[in-house]
Symmetry: C2
Subunit: 127 residues, 2 copies
């Protein structure tokens, strides 16, 4: 890489990104790494049951708590906990109170997976 | 995926993983997502200057602080902050005190990149 133009990377302060928006269930891109995005999403209430055929998806709780529902069980997550939902597995995130989640997923991931409805975000905003 | 065996995913409590080891600069695999690993690493002191030709690498500070050095600058990171080091860019992480870092990087990534020395870990332990 000698001789190429170096673009010095900056840091991201996660809390500052979450302070920039209020909308629920609308992930914002806050980082790009290899073929994946790092996304910030505020959640409250129930999302839609869905699955991603090709993509594993990671949910890291940075504030509040999250209930990740599967068809046969539910996993409760608190701050500093994460879950990786493997491709092909139906899931539904639910938050009784507002929670702040960091998502890691391939750029190809549609937030509602195999479902399209009013919660679907075809294009994610970058913060 | 109907008919396939469903392996229900479990959650990971990050602090519990960090409590399982003491060694510095030796990343432990705590998650697997698509072609990448999520790794926990304790750091203290200076690492080695290196670059990864093919892999972007993300450092998320979960405890303490980290100084990410580049050849022309240094970026200070505190808890709840992350930096994505693009492929090809020389960097050296430095921590004045013990810090706990979550790493996201492709499974192909060698921790010392283009360098091999006593800090190189060819095989990462899974926790």
């Amino acid at each position: 890489m000698e001789g190429s133009v170096v673009v010095p990377p900056g840091k991201v302060t996660i809390a500052e990104k979450f302070a920039l928006f209020d909308e629920y269930w609308s992930p914002k891109i806050i980082g790009e790494i290899n073929d994946s995005y790092v996304e910030a999403v505020k959640v409250k209430g129930e999302f839609v049951w869905h699955r991603h055929e090709l993509e594993d998806e990671m949910f890291l709780v940075v504030r509040g708590s999250l209930r990740m529902q599967f068809r046969d069980r539910e996993i409760q997550l608190g701050e500093g906990e994460f879950i990786i939902v493997p491709r092909g597995i139906e899931h539904r995130p639910v938050a009784d109170e507002e929670a702040h989640i960091l998502l890691f997923e391939p750029k190809t991931t549609l937030n509602t997976g195999n479902v399209r409805n009013e919660r679907t975000r075809e294009q994610l905003e970058r913060l």
